[in-house]
């Protein structure tokens, strides 16, 4: 259940689809990431999301599979948008369906943390002052490292 797409998504529909897996699903935990506007110094006009098409699907599938192997969860859904996005646009959805909530929280945070350091997406900010590639954040590396066994 991996989708890489230009189109927008509807988190409500995704959550319902995860819930509808069966009446043994007690918990759905989801994460929706949005394009943040930088209010202080610079003005964000748009975000360009580049990816490596032949690798992206495989990379997200492997992260989802790892989440399912580590925790007792029933389903992992990942949607990641690519192309040109505007401030406040949805970028990414991660949804986990499970019997119990703890596993869903862990798996959801794991997926987004690892996606941020492993999946081949790159953000370029279109600012009023010109374009600029986003630098990887050390804090993201740290969050991802927490999950290393």
């Amino acid at each position: 259940m991996i989708h890489i797409q230009h189109d927008d998504f509807d988190a409500g529909i995704e959550i319902e689809s995860l819930r509808s897996i069966g009446s043994h699903i007690g918990a759905v935990v989801s994460f929706v990431g949005s394009v943040r506007e930088f209010s202080d110094v610079r003005e964000l006009i748009a975000l360009e999301l580049e990816h490596y098409p032949k690798m992206t699907q495989k990379s997200l599938e492997s992260i989802a599979a790892e989440a399912k192997s580590r925790w007792d969860v029933e389903a992992v859904k990942i949607i990641h948008r690519v192309g040109r996005l505007l401030p406040s646009d949805r970028i990414v959805f991660v949804g986990i369906a499970s019997r119990h909530r703890s596993e869903a929280f862990l798996a959801c945070e794991f997926v987004i943390d690892v996606l941020k350091t492993q999946a081949p997406f790159w953000k370029k900010e279109c600012l009023s002052s010109g374009d600029q590639w986003v630098d990887a954040k050390q804090s993201d590396d740290k969050k991802s490292l927490r999950w290393e066994k």
Binding site: G33, L49, E50, H51, Y52, K54, M55, K58, S59, H80, I91, V92, I112, L115, K116, T117, Q118, A119, P120, F121, W122, K123, K124, W133, V134, D135, A136, K137
Partner: protein
Amino acid sequence: MKIKICYFAKIREQLDVSEEQLIFPDACDNTERLLEFLQARGERWSQVFSSDQKVLKAVNHEIVSEKCALNDGDEVAFFPPVTGG
């Protein structure tokens, strides 16, 4: 042997190439040799691949951090640290 090389994001812009087919001597059968080969192309190339700038590589769509063997038909990609999500 024939290797396909892809470049992404900032690396792609710095080198001004998104992909290329490379006929590579059979003896040069690993990513370290490939990097040396690319660096020898000139200043721009040696800067990108030997500077402080972090460059990640993937072989056949899997990120590899160590030296990795290459075979005919492989696809190698170079890109900066990822920033999705």
